[in-house]
Amino acid sequence: MRGAWRSRNLLAGGAITALMVLIALVSLVWTPYGPTQIDIVHRLATPSAAHPLGTDLFGRDELSMLMAGAQSSLSVALIAVIVGAGIGVPIGAFAAARGGVPDDLVMRACDLAFAFPALLTAVMITALAGPGAINAMLAIGIFNIPVFARITRGAARGVWGREFILAARAAGRHDTAITVLHVLPNIAAVLLVQATIQFALAIVADAGLSYVGLGTQPPQPSWGRMLNDAQTFIWRAPLLAVFPGLAITFAVLGLNLLGDGLQDLLDPRVRRAR
């Protein structure tokens, strides 16, 4: 029974996420209309056969914008997670391998980074560096670094105490080789789960940044800005706010379900604990 529930999480999350990725990929080659194509005569149209989700304040097709928005949202989040993991994981692995003072230094630095609220840090960075998709990726990526550093370090410390590591050390393997060949493969599952969760958070962060005008810049569509644009039209065209809201909700829900499912499937410790 429990097993079935677990796989249902995984299936639902995987299906939603796959759908989002598919939509994002399709939007690269095809959308019903150009996502920046305006049609002022048909502005603020309600859903119809021609525009399944209606049109926005400039008469742009809402569905096309959502599709293109998925692409920009997912790519910002993906790069942000890659930046975070790409820097955070080596730092964490280094701390775990060395232990002692380097470990303390790295972890206290992470504590320091955690003391700043993540989203506010991102707002600060984009406000300083200038708005735009690339800066948003970096800003979100930066607050992902300590998350990955800490989780890597914690999980890696656990692996470093295991017998096969001692054996590898006894065989004269260098720490770096042990980290790459033995430690990282053993904590890959934990990192994958964390990456999924961070991915979901990054989507929310991207939406937040573009909502306040610091993320993806017009005319490139983004979910956050669609929400902002829709806000003052809420009495005339309430659906304009509903669709991007739903898109963000589904993307985050899908990734979180996927993360949960993956965790149950991949992480033996959790499975044993239950």
């Binding site: 920046t36 194509q37 305006i38 002022i40 400039f58 806000q231 003052t232 039209f233 009495w235």
Partner: protein
Amino acid sequence: MTRMLLAVALGATLLAGAAQAKDTLTVGMVLEPPHLDPTAGAASAIREVTYGNIYEGLTRIDHRGEVRPALAESWSISPDGLTYKFRLIGGVKFHDGTPFDCSIVKFSYERAVAPDSVNAQKQLFEPIESTTCPDPLTAVVKLKRPTSLFLFDMAWGDAVMISPKSAATNKTNPVGTGPFRFKQWIKGDRVEMVRNPDYWGAQPKLKAVTFKFIADPAAATAAVLAGDIDAFPLFPAPEAIDQFKSDPRFAVHIGTTEGKTILALNNARKPFDDIRVRRALAYAIDRKALIDAAQSGYGKPIGSHYVPTDPGYVDLTGVYPYDPAKAKALLAEAGIKPGTEITIMLPPPSYARRGGEVIAAMLDQVGIKAKLVPIEWAQWLDQVFMRSDFDATIISHTEARDLDIYARDKYYFNYHSPQYKALYQKFVEAIDPKTQLDLIGQLQKKLADDEPNVFLFALAKVGVANAKLRGLWDNDPLPANVVAGVSWAD
């Protein structure tokens, strides 16, 4: 017993609240002024906060756009149009106690006309030859040549009276003769002022006024709905107006402004130095659609740098009708390849931010890729307006009858036309009203012909205010929010 007492106390509080009419006002504005000295900056926001509230000039412009006496109670003009004799109001004091007399007039005008003057409208004072003081309450201004608009010009926010004592500090601590005194400025948020108990004229009904700066349309809407803002004279979310119209708590004020909204082009930069490119851009933009999409239909198309409500207006909207095919042909003729990229700077007002998206899509239709760069107001003033470092930008020029900016040697869009300059000089020197109007028409036509900027639309005044407010202006004949006459109905 306790409960009854409570009820009585509560009732008494409620009654007291009802009996005492509100005597403070919070006005919403989109742009924050860079500083508060109207004689030292071009940003309209400076005058929208200070004009008629903190500072006053010899004359003023009323809500109908007519010249009225202010610190000069009357004046006479010599038959040759060269000597203006102003009779000043006696007993007027600046907020810091400095008495106002002719020496102040002399100081203010001489400062504005001086070679090192930083006045943004220096040309208004250029005709002044001398200011003399036969007695403390008489100021005699001699002009180099007849200047038809002189009394109007001296009513501009840039021509207000400044005390020598506070001239250096007015940017942060403005001191004038007006009905309100500056209290404090919380940067990024609001400017507060309080009633001037020693005001020479009628005491304002309001005890305190706050100008609050909110650029985001959604935040502005929320602030008005929540009652945090009592009046938003140039409301940035015209799409929400219907909602306010149907709400009895609010009154909607639709009127006109002097705002000439333009796609300003840097004429010194390629490809905008080519008239064919500028004309192509003018053909590529559907003004009616732009107004519908960016301003919810509020605003009137214009074909030159002049608004329909000003005297001598000529309708030139037909010079460049919306014609993408013609635009493409002109671009091809000028050697502009499809896919050429230009950058449009977008200051915070929604006409620019939204208008930019619409214009980018329209330019895309004729093969020009517009990169949109949203920038903050201070940065716009510095980079675009002061340093002229831009390709194109969307901005509304809210000064009244400012055809002179195209005749200046140095102005941010770098339009240089000897013919226009000569024509403008003729206009300035014309005394006969009919000749003046005729020349105003010729100036407009010359601009439409050269199309230094793409003239888009006259900015409408779309204001929202609490329904109980009285005395707000319906139109904006100059950038100002004069609140001296504003009061609350009970």
